[in-house]
């Protein structure tokens, strides 16, 4: 498992509030600890779904690629795909953290759906 290289380049700042509902589709929960490390202050309620047993969820949450993780807040807010090995992308993709503002110029916002 690769440790993300960019952690030295930009500091990640946790986004408030630090409580999330996360739903993991597809693969097992091997990378949960990465999530916790990335945002140690946060509390997460994480459920997992093996799509094979409940395929209707794939339709509801528009899941194509797996593994995929969605962050819920009454409705779907963010979605990431992949095996969560890129830890920085996980927390940014789920809008759990943002990159700290760079000293010069505008900081790069974490990609997320509005």
């Amino acid at each position: 498992m690769k440790v993300p290289a960019e952690s030295g380049e930009a500091k990640l700042v946790a986004v408030e509030p630090a409580e999330w509902d996360l739903l993991l589709y597809g693969a097992g929960l091997r990378h949960r600890e990465h999530l916790c490390q990335a945002h140690p202050a946060g509390q997460s309620r994480m459920r997992s779904s093996t799509l094979g047993k409940s395929p209707q969820f794939a339709r509801g949450d528009q899941i194509l690629a797996v593994p995929a993780m969605v962050r819920m807040q009454s409705e779907l807010i963010c979605k990431i795909i992949g095996n969560l090995s890129n830890r920085a992308n996980v927390v940014i993709g789920l809008d759990l953290c943002r990159r700290a503002a760079a000293p010069r110029g505008a900081g790069k916002e974490g990609a997320h759906a509005g």
């Binding site: 794939a58 339709r59 528009q62 194509l64 690629a65 992949g82 993709g93």
Partner: protein, 584 residues
Amino acid sequence: MKKNTIVSAPRTLQKAQTGIRGLDEITGGGLPAGRPTLLSGGSGCGKTLLAMEFLVRGATEFGEPGVFVAFEETTAELTQNVASLGFDLQALIARKKLVLDYVFVDRAEYQETGEYDLEGLFIRLGYAIDAIQAKRVVLDTIEVLFSALPNQALVRAELLRLFRWLKEKGVTVIMTGERGESTLTRFGLEEYVSDCVISLDHRVVDQVTTRRIRVVKYRGTTHGTNEYPFLIEKDGISIWPVTSVQIEHTASRERILTGIERLDTMLGGKGYYRGSSILVSGTAGTGKTSVAATFADAACRRGERCLYFSFEESSSEIMRNMNSIGFDLPKWVKRGRLQFHTVRPFTYGLEMHLARTIKFITEFSPEVVIIDTISALDTTGNALEIKAAIMRLMDFLKQRGITVMLTDLTIGSALERTDAAISSLVDTWLALRDLESNGERNRCLHLLKSRGMASSNQVREFVITDYGIHFADVYIGPGGMLTGSARVQQEGRERAERVGLNEEAERQQLALECKRAALEAQIAGLRAEFSSEEAIITRTASMDKQREASLALDEAAMGRSRKGDAVKNNGLRIRPILTGGKSS
């Protein structure tokens, strides 16, 4: 519900009928069953509609439920869009004949956090297929995945896996693809995994658009390779291929009347052959439409059906104009025997005109078709294309035994000009012509050709009256051919001459009578003279006899008085004595 969805052909590919009019014909029975087909084309050329019709027909006509995976339109939009074709998707969904699945893929949504695959799509699709036991799947448009997911190599590999998986499931798949610059699809993948590739096209030529369809490839089967125009109308998509190149139709011996009595006579007394083609050519205003309308009216009178295509006049104009020469066409329209289709030639391309013509003919199934005029199609293509199109149309009509009358506008004085291309195709050719003389134009009809019958070689003058078309013999004499008022004048002169001759004869007769009367009178006079003379002579003679007798009496008396002896009267008179006696 028909069950024969898969046309079984031994040792060859099994095919899934589309139910789309004409598509099964050009694909030789349908799409490859259980395999993927690519529907490629630019935007707005009808890919989604065709794919949807494939599912709807499958569900309603062939008992094959279908799944529509939409990557670009939401289910609500789709439902609305195809409602215009008369497809009620909600009802099909309720009956578990159809699943619409809108797959929303937005690149902005995806933060890649490591390796992944598209198992989610497989699961969704598998779930939908299993839910209704689908046999048909549409993926519209799968290339969205390429632009949504950053890892193209992965998408490619996953799609290949998807198609293998779909083949294993045994579903017939249509995927749509946007045409690339020089390839059938933008990413050049779909055409390789597909067993059948159909290209749709929406081309503008001379500001006229035509939708066309072509089977680009079809593994393991023969198929029509041409481009065929297709229509999207309120009852769905229809393709009208005129694929026949054989001349195999059986020729009818039945004859049908032309509606013009003397024209029937010119055509051996019986009119045209049923199922033959008749060309009526002529310059403007020579009465082509009148001949055509007469024929239409005659067909309707026989109780047949006639389809009238007009490229120049509206149906109400034709009906009004023909009413002025005594035809009540609205009556036939009302009774459903006559149908007009009027459209400007430049509205469609040539192929589209042909396709529409064939569609209307198939729907109305008339016995007689009139196309007025084919020269209006000149704007839609070059002479060769038009000839080919007309030839295909005529083959189509002949196969069905439909009699067709084409009118053709010739320009200028050259009688046989435009028709060089078409005249060889037609069976009967009537040429209408203006003859200008004595400051007037008169219509003439030549029967230039009439296959398979004894026909008149004479020119007829063609007179349009309040009661239809009538033919008059043209006057052919030492002064050449006379028509119109010159003919009337000539006829008058001849009549007058005939009258003159009669009068002369009468006069001579009368003179003879007079002569005879005079002669008889003369004879009577002579006879009267003679008889009076005769009377005089007779009377004189009798007076002489009396005198003689009285003389004899006197002599006797004198003799008695002189006591003379009796003189024997032997009939001889001795006149000197008498005379002497008397004179003494």
